[in-house]
Subunit: 243 residues, 2 copies
Amino acid sequence: MRYKVTLAYDGNRYVGFQSQINGLTIQDEIEKVLKRICKKDLRIIMASRTDAGVHAKHQVFHFDIDKEYDTYKLKGSFNGLLPKDIHVIDVEKVKETFHARFSVKSKTYEYLINAGEYDVFLNGYAYQCFYKLDMDLMKECSKLFIGKHDFSSFNTSTYKEKPDQTRTISEFKIIKKGDLIKIRVTGDGFMRNMVRIMVGTLIDVGRGQKTIKEVKDMLKNPRKDTKRYNISPSGLYLVNIKY
Amino acid sequence: MRYKVTLAYDGNRYVGFQSQINGLTIQDEIEKVLKRICKKDLRIIMASRTDAGVHAKHQVFHFDIDKEYDTYKLKGSFNGLLPKDIHVIDVEKVKETFHARFSVKSKTYEYLINAGEYDVFLNGYAYQCFYKLDMDLMKECSKLFIGKHDFSSFNTSTYKEKPDQTRTISEFKIIKKGDLIKIRVTGDGFMRNMVRIMVGTLIDVGRGQKTIKEVKDMLKNPRKDTKRYNISPSGLYLVNIKY
């Protein structure tokens, strides 16, 4: 049986989603709980490897086990055993053809910026911006990302890891509500730090550190040696995955 | 010179506002910073002694020193030295007749309840309610608190500490937005755990554990031995103080 699990987490305490040697990860916490529930060592396959400090309102993983579980009870077991900053929203039985990573059609990320007075309740949950931002310029620039492009200038994956750095962005929205700016990006895939570098580039444009012409050039002449602003992970949320 | 300081803090890391022997407090953090700024030991007088885990979007204290400071620079010094979960919003020079505690005209608290699916981002910032609540009954009950009453049944201060337990509530609002319920209370003063016990009582009424008649009786026949539900501090925010 293959089980698909949808979950949310607050990334502040973790060094990322995927297991690694240098600290606590979401994957470690989940596999520890899975072992207690299923009484055996199981590996999970996640849809998206979020980085240290990145949050998720909707992340997905799958795992296989030769046993029938009631999905509602399984959700309850997960939430009873997981720490308070990880929460399982839904458990479904799926066909063996479903794969949490390879079946993804699109992913949506949101990035939160506080452009007003520092807010203690957004510490770790938004990027605190002290610059005056030109919203019109940022909106104009954001349109450049929409469509199919070689995003080599906008990520830190090497060509060895990701030989084809062409991705398609279907949605890029900037929504301002009072002092809060929410940036929403949907695409068929994102490489390492791609959302953070796109948002960082928009901030650079908004505060007059980069011109629209320079961003156009980064897209037209994709290259790894461009000066890039990889903005803080605190404001980044994985908010949807479509299959 | 007397200085009035308005600040916000996330109460999660602290055992309360006021200095005490059993852990870290907001007052300790502020007085430590004040010593570094003013090069001498100074005591602050706070408007309201918030409990462990209680948050503030608007708290006030004052302190005295025989020295002229630029208030804008003083704000900057505070925020440069304070931890990230305490933030000074404003510093003003005030007359010696101003007293952070005794000059208070009214205080406003808000209490946040999440009545929907558990949300990792509200962990420590709202009360997670798993009961089905009757909002109409809660609203009807909340009106009973408005006005001048002896609140002996609704606090944990002893008569030795507070001989007169009569307070006036001028505002008691319940606002529901999706699954979030915000309760807003304004009064001329609140005794220990008074807001939490009033909110706990409303929850009891909303889930059918207490009747409106019983609440009326608690107000008409004030007494300390009533069974009271002192709800979690996580959802409580001090949001305004008027002088």
